[in-house]
Amino acid sequence: MLDPASGLQPVAEEQTPRKVNRKSHVIRIPTLNVTSFLAMSWGLLTFLMLNASFSGPEGVISANVPKGIVSSGTTDKPDPNPTTEIPKVPIIIMVTQVDAVTARVSVSGLSEAPRSFKELTVLLMKIQKNPEKGRNGVYTPDNPIVIQPEAGVRWQHVVNAFNAAVKAQYTSVGFAALQ
Protein backbone atom coordinates (compact mmCIF):
# COMPACT_ATOMS: atom_id res chain seq x y z
CA MET A 1 0.00 0.00 0.00
CA LEU A 2 1.46 3.31 -0.96
CA ASP A 3 1.37 6.39 1.25
CA PRO A 4 -1.21 8.76 -0.17
CA ALA A 5 0.92 11.69 1.07
CA SER A 6 3.65 10.83 -1.43
CA GLY A 7 1.32 11.65 -4.27
CA LEU A 8 1.46 8.24 -5.89
CA GLN A 9 -1.78 6.55 -6.61
CA PRO A 10 -2.12 2.87 -5.73
CA VAL A 11 -2.42 0.64 -8.84
CA ALA A 12 -5.33 -1.86 -8.94
CA GLU A 13 -4.39 -5.56 -8.79
CA GLU A 14 -5.82 -6.44 -12.20
CA GLN A 15 -3.89 -3.70 -13.90
CA THR A 16 -0.53 -4.97 -12.73
CA PRO A 17 1.44 -6.02 -15.89
CA ARG A 18 2.38 -9.79 -15.84
CA LYS A 19 5.23 -11.52 -17.50
CA VAL A 20 3.90 -13.62 -20.41
CA ASN A 21 5.81 -16.77 -21.33
CA ARG A 22 6.12 -16.59 -25.15
CA LYS A 23 7.44 -20.12 -25.37
CA SER A 24 4.44 -22.41 -26.04
CA HIS A 25 4.73 -26.20 -25.87
CA VAL A 26 4.32 -27.79 -29.33
CA ILE A 27 3.21 -31.39 -29.34
CA ARG A 28 4.47 -33.13 -32.48
CA ILE A 29 2.33 -35.99 -33.75
CA PRO A 30 4.52 -38.67 -35.41
CA THR A 31 3.48 -39.39 -39.00
CA LEU A 32 4.22 -42.29 -41.33
CA ASN A 33 4.44 -41.79 -45.05
CA VAL A 34 2.98 -44.96 -46.55
CA THR A 35 2.98 -43.85 -50.19
CA SER A 36 5.92 -45.99 -51.35
CA PHE A 37 4.75 -48.90 -49.24
CA LEU A 38 1.35 -48.86 -50.90
CA ALA A 39 2.90 -48.53 -54.36
CA MET A 40 5.09 -51.58 -53.69
CA SER A 41 2.15 -53.57 -52.28
CA TRP A 42 -0.04 -52.89 -55.28
CA GLY A 43 2.76 -53.84 -57.65
CA LEU A 44 3.33 -57.14 -55.85
CA LEU A 45 -0.39 -57.84 -55.66
CA THR A 46 -0.83 -57.24 -59.40
CA PHE A 47 2.09 -59.55 -60.20
CA LEU A 48 0.80 -62.34 -57.98
CA MET A 49 -2.76 -62.02 -59.29
CA LEU A 50 -1.58 -62.31 -62.89
CA ASN A 51 0.73 -65.19 -62.04
CA ALA A 52 -1.74 -67.34 -60.08
CA SER A 53 -3.46 -70.13 -61.96
CA PHE A 54 -6.32 -71.96 -60.35
CA SER A 55 -6.28 -75.37 -61.96
CA GLY A 56 -7.63 -78.53 -60.35
CA PRO A 57 -5.33 -80.65 -58.21
CA GLU A 58 -3.38 -83.28 -60.13
CA GLY A 59 -2.14 -86.62 -58.94
CA VAL A 60 -0.63 -89.73 -60.47
CA ILE A 61 -1.88 -93.26 -61.04
CA SER A 62 1.06 -95.67 -60.91
CA ALA A 63 1.74 -99.02 -62.45
CA ASN A 64 4.72 -101.06 -63.55
CA VAL A 65 5.45 -101.40 -67.25
CA PRO A 66 4.92 -105.08 -68.14
CA LYS A 67 7.94 -107.04 -69.35
CA GLY A 68 7.87 -108.88 -72.61
CA ILE A 69 4.76 -107.13 -73.82
CA VAL A 70 4.88 -105.58 -77.26
CA SER A 71 4.14 -102.11 -75.97
CA SER A 72 6.91 -100.54 -78.00
CA GLY A 73 5.72 -101.86 -81.33
CA THR A 74 9.18 -103.31 -82.03
CA THR A 75 9.52 -107.09 -81.85
CA ASP A 76 12.95 -107.46 -83.42
CA LYS A 77 14.89 -106.78 -80.22
CA PRO A 78 15.56 -109.83 -78.07
CA ASP A 79 14.67 -109.67 -74.40
CA PRO A 80 17.98 -108.79 -72.63
CA ASN A 81 16.86 -110.73 -69.55
CA PRO A 82 15.34 -113.96 -70.80
CA THR A 83 13.67 -116.07 -68.14
CA THR A 84 12.50 -119.67 -68.04
CA GLU A 85 9.12 -118.75 -66.63
CA ILE A 86 6.05 -119.54 -68.63
CA PRO A 87 4.89 -116.20 -69.99
CA LYS A 88 1.52 -115.12 -68.68
CA VAL A 89 -1.27 -114.48 -71.13
CA PRO A 90 -2.05 -110.80 -70.99
CA ILE A 91 -5.57 -109.51 -70.52
CA ILE A 92 -6.32 -107.20 -73.43
CA ILE A 93 -8.68 -104.29 -72.86
CA MET A 94 -9.85 -102.81 -76.14
CA VAL A 95 -11.03 -99.22 -76.30
CA THR A 96 -12.86 -98.43 -79.53
CA GLN A 97 -13.95 -95.04 -80.77
CA VAL A 98 -17.69 -94.40 -81.09
CA ASP A 99 -17.48 -90.72 -82.04
CA ALA A 100 -15.21 -87.76 -81.34
CA VAL A 101 -15.82 -87.79 -77.61
CA THR A 102 -17.18 -91.21 -76.59
CA ALA A 103 -15.62 -94.66 -76.63
CA ARG A 104 -16.61 -98.24 -75.97
CA VAL A 105 -14.59 -100.70 -73.89
CA SER A 106 -14.40 -104.48 -74.07
CA VAL A 107 -12.16 -107.27 -72.78
CA SER A 108 -10.71 -109.69 -75.31
CA GLY A 109 -11.94 -113.26 -74.94
CA LEU A 110 -14.89 -112.37 -72.72
CA SER A 111 -18.46 -112.27 -73.96
CA GLU A 112 -19.50 -109.89 -71.21
CA ALA A 113 -19.07 -106.31 -72.43
CA PRO A 114 -18.93 -103.61 -69.74
CA ARG A 115 -21.09 -100.58 -70.41
CA SER A 116 -18.92 -98.22 -68.38
CA PHE A 117 -15.47 -98.11 -66.85
CA LYS A 118 -16.95 -98.86 -63.42
CA GLU A 119 -18.38 -102.07 -64.85
CA LEU A 120 -14.95 -102.78 -66.35
CA THR A 121 -13.44 -102.60 -62.85
CA VAL A 122 -16.06 -105.04 -61.56
CA LEU A 123 -15.41 -107.42 -64.46
CA LEU A 124 -11.63 -107.34 -63.95
CA MET A 125 -12.11 -108.09 -60.26
CA LYS A 126 -14.39 -110.99 -61.15
CA ILE A 127 -11.75 -112.69 -63.29
CA GLN A 128 -8.97 -112.11 -60.77
CA LYS A 129 -7.52 -114.87 -58.62
CA ASN A 130 -6.93 -113.34 -55.20
CA PRO A 131 -7.79 -115.54 -52.19
CA GLU A 132 -7.12 -112.69 -49.76
CA LYS A 133 -9.90 -110.68 -51.33
CA GLY A 134 -12.13 -113.70 -51.88
CA ARG A 135 -11.73 -113.66 -55.66
CA ASN A 136 -11.69 -117.00 -57.42
CA GLY A 137 -10.88 -116.04 -60.97
CA VAL A 138 -8.10 -117.12 -63.28
CA TYR A 139 -5.70 -114.19 -63.49
CA THR A 140 -3.36 -113.27 -60.65
CA PRO A 141 -2.91 -109.60 -59.70
CA ASP A 142 0.52 -109.52 -61.38
CA ASN A 143 -0.88 -110.81 -64.66
CA PRO A 144 -0.09 -108.21 -67.30
CA ILE A 145 -2.90 -106.10 -68.70
CA VAL A 146 -2.53 -104.46 -72.09
CA ILE A 147 -4.75 -101.55 -73.03
CA GLN A 148 -5.31 -101.43 -76.77
CA PRO A 149 -7.03 -98.21 -77.87
CA GLU A 150 -7.85 -97.23 -81.44
CA ALA A 151 -5.86 -94.39 -82.94
CA GLY A 152 -8.57 -91.72 -82.59
CA VAL A 153 -9.58 -92.54 -79.01
CA ARG A 154 -9.08 -89.57 -76.70
CA TRP A 155 -6.59 -89.85 -73.87
CA GLN A 156 -9.41 -89.37 -71.33
CA HIS A 157 -10.78 -92.85 -72.15
CA VAL A 158 -7.36 -94.47 -72.13
CA VAL A 159 -6.72 -93.13 -68.61
CA ASN A 160 -10.17 -94.31 -67.60
CA ALA A 161 -9.26 -97.85 -68.67
CA PHE A 162 -5.89 -97.59 -66.91
CA ASN A 163 -7.58 -96.38 -63.73
CA ALA A 164 -10.09 -99.24 -63.88
CA ALA A 165 -7.27 -101.80 -64.18
CA VAL A 166 -5.29 -100.32 -61.28
CA LYS A 167 -8.47 -100.08 -59.18
CA ALA A 168 -9.03 -103.81 -59.75
CA GLN A 169 -5.57 -104.22 -58.15
CA TYR A 170 -3.61 -105.35 -61.16
CA THR A 171 -0.03 -104.22 -60.81
CA SER A 172 1.30 -104.52 -64.34
CA VAL A 173 -0.54 -102.40 -66.90
CA GLY A 174 0.81 -101.38 -70.30
CA PHE A 175 -0.27 -100.08 -73.67
CA ALA A 176 -0.32 -101.84 -77.02
CA ALA A 177 1.18 -100.56 -80.22
CA LEU A 178 -1.15 -99.12 -82.83
CA GLN A 179 -2.58 -101.71 -85.21
Binding site: V34, F37, L38, S41, W42, L44, L45, L48, M49, N51, A52, S53, F54, S55, G56, P57, E58, G59, V60, I61, S62, A63, N64, V65, S71, S72, G73, T74, V95, A100, S116, F117, K118, T121, P149, E150, A151, G152, V153, R154, W155, Q156, V158, V159, N160, F162, N163, A164, V166, K167, G174, F175, A177, L178
Partner: protein
Amino acid sequence: MAKKKIDVPRPELNVTSMMDLVLNLMTFFVLVSNFAAASMPLIEAPKPEDSLARQTDSQDRIVISLEVTDKDSGLAKRIVAGGRDIGPQDGKQLLDFLLREVKVSEKVEVDLRVDKNVRYDQVQPVLAIMAEANVKRMNLVAARED
Protein backbone atom coordinates in the same frame (compact mmCIF):
# COMPACT_ATOMS: atom_id res chain seq x y z
CA MET B 1 -8.67 -4.03 -38.50
CA ALA B 2 -7.64 -7.46 -37.15
CA LYS B 3 -7.05 -10.16 -39.80
CA LYS B 4 -9.43 -13.05 -39.52
CA LYS B 5 -7.73 -16.42 -39.90
CA ILE B 6 -9.79 -18.79 -42.09
CA ASP B 7 -9.36 -22.44 -41.33
CA VAL B 8 -9.05 -24.34 -44.63
CA PRO B 9 -10.45 -27.84 -44.15
CA ARG B 10 -7.79 -30.48 -44.86
CA PRO B 11 -9.09 -33.66 -46.47
CA GLU B 12 -7.87 -36.75 -44.69
CA LEU B 13 -7.77 -40.33 -45.95
CA ASN B 14 -7.72 -43.13 -43.48
CA VAL B 15 -5.85 -45.94 -45.26
CA THR B 16 -5.79 -48.38 -42.35
CA SER B 17 -8.46 -50.73 -43.67
CA MET B 18 -7.09 -50.58 -47.22
CA MET B 19 -3.62 -51.59 -46.06
CA ASP B 20 -5.14 -54.38 -43.99
CA LEU B 21 -7.02 -55.74 -47.02
CA VAL B 22 -4.02 -55.38 -49.35
CA LEU B 23 -1.79 -57.30 -46.97
CA ASN B 24 -4.40 -60.04 -46.58
CA LEU B 25 -4.73 -60.39 -50.35
CA MET B 26 -0.96 -60.50 -50.76
CA THR B 27 -0.64 -63.21 -48.13
CA PHE B 28 -3.35 -65.22 -49.88
CA PHE B 29 -1.71 -65.00 -53.31
CA VAL B 30 1.77 -65.72 -51.93
CA LEU B 31 0.46 -68.91 -50.34
CA VAL B 32 -1.57 -69.92 -53.39
CA SER B 33 1.08 -69.27 -56.02
CA ASN B 34 3.04 -72.26 -57.11
CA PHE B 35 5.86 -71.16 -59.35
CA ALA B 36 6.96 -74.72 -60.12
CA ALA B 37 3.52 -75.62 -61.48
CA ALA B 38 3.45 -72.40 -63.48
CA SER B 39 6.50 -73.54 -65.44
CA MET B 40 4.68 -76.66 -66.71
CA PRO B 41 2.38 -76.36 -69.73
CA LEU B 42 -1.28 -75.81 -68.89
CA ILE B 43 -3.31 -78.92 -69.72
CA GLU B 44 -6.74 -80.25 -68.92
CA ALA B 45 -5.93 -83.41 -66.97
CA PRO B 46 -8.17 -86.45 -67.53
CA LYS B 47 -10.83 -87.07 -64.87
CA PRO B 48 -11.31 -90.82 -64.45
CA GLU B 49 -14.36 -92.20 -62.67
CA ASP B 50 -13.39 -92.91 -59.02
CA SER B 51 -9.94 -91.54 -59.69
CA LEU B 52 -7.08 -93.28 -57.93
CA ALA B 53 -4.75 -90.38 -58.61
CA ARG B 54 -2.69 -89.44 -55.57
CA GLN B 55 -0.06 -86.86 -54.87
CA THR B 56 3.40 -88.35 -54.96
CA ASP B 57 6.50 -87.34 -53.01
CA SER B 58 8.88 -89.21 -55.26
CA GLN B 59 11.96 -87.13 -56.02
CA ASP B 60 13.42 -89.31 -58.75
CA ARG B 61 10.95 -88.52 -61.49
CA ILE B 62 10.72 -86.82 -64.87
CA VAL B 63 7.58 -85.12 -66.16
CA ILE B 64 6.70 -85.40 -69.84
CA SER B 65 3.82 -83.12 -70.86
CA LEU B 66 1.80 -83.14 -74.08
CA GLU B 67 -0.30 -80.12 -74.93
CA VAL B 68 -3.16 -80.24 -77.42
CA THR B 69 -3.49 -77.83 -80.37
CA ASP B 70 -7.28 -77.77 -80.22
CA LYS B 71 -9.96 -80.03 -78.81
CA ASP B 72 -11.46 -80.97 -82.19
CA SER B 73 -8.32 -82.23 -83.88
CA GLY B 74 -6.75 -83.87 -80.82
CA LEU B 75 -3.28 -83.30 -82.23
CA ALA B 76 -0.33 -82.77 -79.90
CA LYS B 77 1.04 -79.24 -80.04
CA ARG B 78 4.31 -79.73 -78.25
CA ILE B 79 6.08 -82.10 -75.91
CA VAL B 80 7.85 -80.76 -72.85
CA ALA B 81 10.22 -83.17 -71.13
CA GLY B 82 12.24 -82.20 -68.08
CA GLY B 83 11.49 -78.54 -68.68
CA ARG B 84 12.75 -78.70 -72.27
CA ASP B 85 10.55 -78.03 -75.30
CA ILE B 86 10.70 -80.91 -77.78
CA GLY B 87 8.79 -80.82 -81.05
CA PRO B 88 6.02 -83.43 -81.42
CA GLN B 89 7.94 -85.19 -84.19
CA ASP B 90 11.38 -85.24 -82.57
CA GLY B 91 11.44 -88.73 -81.09
CA LYS B 92 15.23 -89.02 -81.17
CA GLN B 93 15.74 -86.06 -78.83
CA LEU B 94 13.23 -87.49 -76.36
CA LEU B 95 14.85 -90.93 -76.54
CA ASP B 96 18.33 -89.50 -75.94
CA PHE B 97 17.01 -87.54 -72.98
CA LEU B 98 15.32 -90.59 -71.42
CA LEU B 99 18.34 -92.84 -72.02
CA ARG B 100 20.56 -90.33 -70.22
CA GLU B 101 18.16 -90.16 -67.26
CA VAL B 102 17.77 -93.96 -67.00
CA LYS B 103 21.57 -94.30 -67.13
CA VAL B 104 21.88 -91.97 -64.13
CA SER B 105 19.19 -93.77 -62.14
CA GLU B 106 17.48 -97.00 -63.18
CA LYS B 107 14.65 -96.36 -60.75
CA VAL B 108 13.63 -93.13 -62.39
CA GLU B 109 9.86 -92.74 -62.81
CA VAL B 110 8.20 -90.94 -65.67
CA ASP B 111 5.05 -88.90 -65.09
CA LEU B 112 3.09 -88.75 -68.31
CA ARG B 113 1.03 -85.57 -68.26
CA VAL B 114 -1.22 -85.47 -71.32
CA ASP B 115 -4.21 -83.27 -72.10
CA LYS B 116 -7.41 -85.33 -72.01
CA ASN B 117 -8.34 -84.35 -75.59
CA VAL B 118 -5.14 -85.66 -77.22
CA ARG B 119 -5.64 -88.65 -79.51
CA TYR B 120 -4.01 -91.94 -78.61
CA ASP B 121 -1.98 -92.05 -81.84
CA GLN B 122 -0.21 -88.86 -80.69
CA VAL B 123 0.71 -90.40 -77.33
CA GLN B 124 1.66 -93.89 -78.46
CA PRO B 125 5.04 -92.85 -79.94
CA VAL B 126 5.98 -91.39 -76.55
CA LEU B 127 5.00 -94.66 -74.85
CA ALA B 128 7.09 -96.60 -77.37
CA ILE B 129 10.09 -94.35 -76.68
CA MET B 130 9.65 -94.89 -72.95
CA ALA B 131 9.65 -98.65 -73.46
CA GLU B 132 12.73 -98.40 -75.68
CA ALA B 133 14.52 -96.35 -73.01
CA ASN B 134 13.70 -99.13 -70.55
CA VAL B 135 11.65 -97.00 -68.18
CA LYS B 136 10.48 -99.35 -65.44
CA ARG B 137 7.72 -97.30 -63.85
CA MET B 138 5.23 -95.03 -65.49
CA ASN B 139 2.74 -92.75 -63.79
CA LEU B 140 -0.24 -91.25 -65.56
CA VAL B 141 -1.22 -87.78 -64.36
CA ALA B 142 -4.96 -87.40 -63.72
CA ALA B 143 -7.26 -85.14 -61.73
CA ARG B 144 -7.43 -85.96 -58.03
CA GLU B 145 -10.64 -86.51 -56.16
CA ASP B 146 -9.97 -84.84 -52.79
